[in-house]
Symmetry: C2
Subunit: 193 residues, 2 copies
């Protein structure tokens, strides 16, 4: 992910420590400041020269990807796990709310889900497609079960999800994001009156 991996010989002990520290600081910086934070600033916070950070991660994107890839993959995995749940409506709404709530704690994750300059990981990554696929599957099942409005397509739900995250970007209280997700879920529900 960062640079070399299996084939090369292991990193020297100090380099490995430094690499971990960079990841740690980058994680914190991204969570609080989002994708717009500068590479220089991350190096500064970690107490390294910028050259050192570039040695471990060849571009800004590579560093951000190393930090965020795992979190995005977890969303996809959760979605897949719920794809066979008994109550399709509950699975869909549960996943939606969960993604919103977890992402809302991480500024960079919000930026990424909102499709800023980073949604596309390295060329060839299927992550974005996997995410959309998991969502589409949950949506389809929930609609067949009569739990969700029929006129919504996956792209609509993705937009609604992004919409819920704008509150986070404005540093509102955590509860506000949850309330927004609740309103939106209510709006997506099939009308049974």
């Amino acid at each position: 992910m960062g640079d070399d991996h299996s084939s090369a010989r292991p990193l020297r002990a100090d380099a490995r420590r430094n690499r971990e520290r960079v990841l740690q600081i980058a994680q914190e910086a991204l969570a609080s400041d989002g994708l717009t934070i500068s590479f220089d600033e991350i190096a500064r916070r970690a107490g390294f020269g910028v050259g050192t950070v570039y040695r471990h991660f060849p571009t800004k994107e590579a560093l951000f990807e190393a930090v965020l890839l795992g979190r995005m993959e977890r969303f996809v995995a959760d979605g897949r796990a719920l794809a066979t749940a008994e109550d399709a409506g509950k699975a869909f709404f549960g996943w939606f709310s969960q993604v919103v709530e977890q992402a809302s704690a991480n500024q960079a994750l919000c930026d990424m889900l909102e499709g800023g300059p980073m949604m596309t990981f390295r060329p060839g990554s299927t992550l974005a497609a996997d995410f959309a696929g998991a969502l589409a599957r949950l949506l389809d099942r929930a609609q067949r079960a009569g739990a969700v409005r029929r006129d919504l397509v996956a792209e609509d739900v993705l937009d609604l999800l992004r919409g819920c995250l704008v509150a986070e970007r404005r540093a509102r209280a955590r509860g506000a994001v949850v309330k927004m997700a609740d309103v939106v879920c209510d709006g997506m529900r099939a009308k049974t009156r």
Copy 2:
């Protein structure tokens, strides 16, 4: 708004024409590219040197404000006009949908409503407060009339409004924004089951 006004003598004829042209081009550029467009780029599109544009508008903010202020004020005026409407629920949802729909046609308006670096016009402007005030009034009346969930506050509605506009930023079809607003309005409606 731009620079001088009453007291100074009128602009020379060519300067007045140029000023109009700058406003015209800036309007188009902001609508299509949003607040992130550079001043240089606007000057280039208008076919002027950057110095000329600065002569008419002392900062980037001043130019953007000259283009966008009127549009924002219209939203506030519409809201105030609806504040005495008979059907408070209809007034609230109508205004919400209308703001979303009109703003969605203008990238810069979306950016501004989303509260980017520009929501605050020049210091002392009460526009942001006026907008929030008009919204709060409509919301309060709609809630008293039993048309809107009681647990929502003005800030929540503002966030939901912003949320509807993220779809526009991603250049989705116009219909998608309307559909989002519809879902969100449904979610805000008081449950009458």
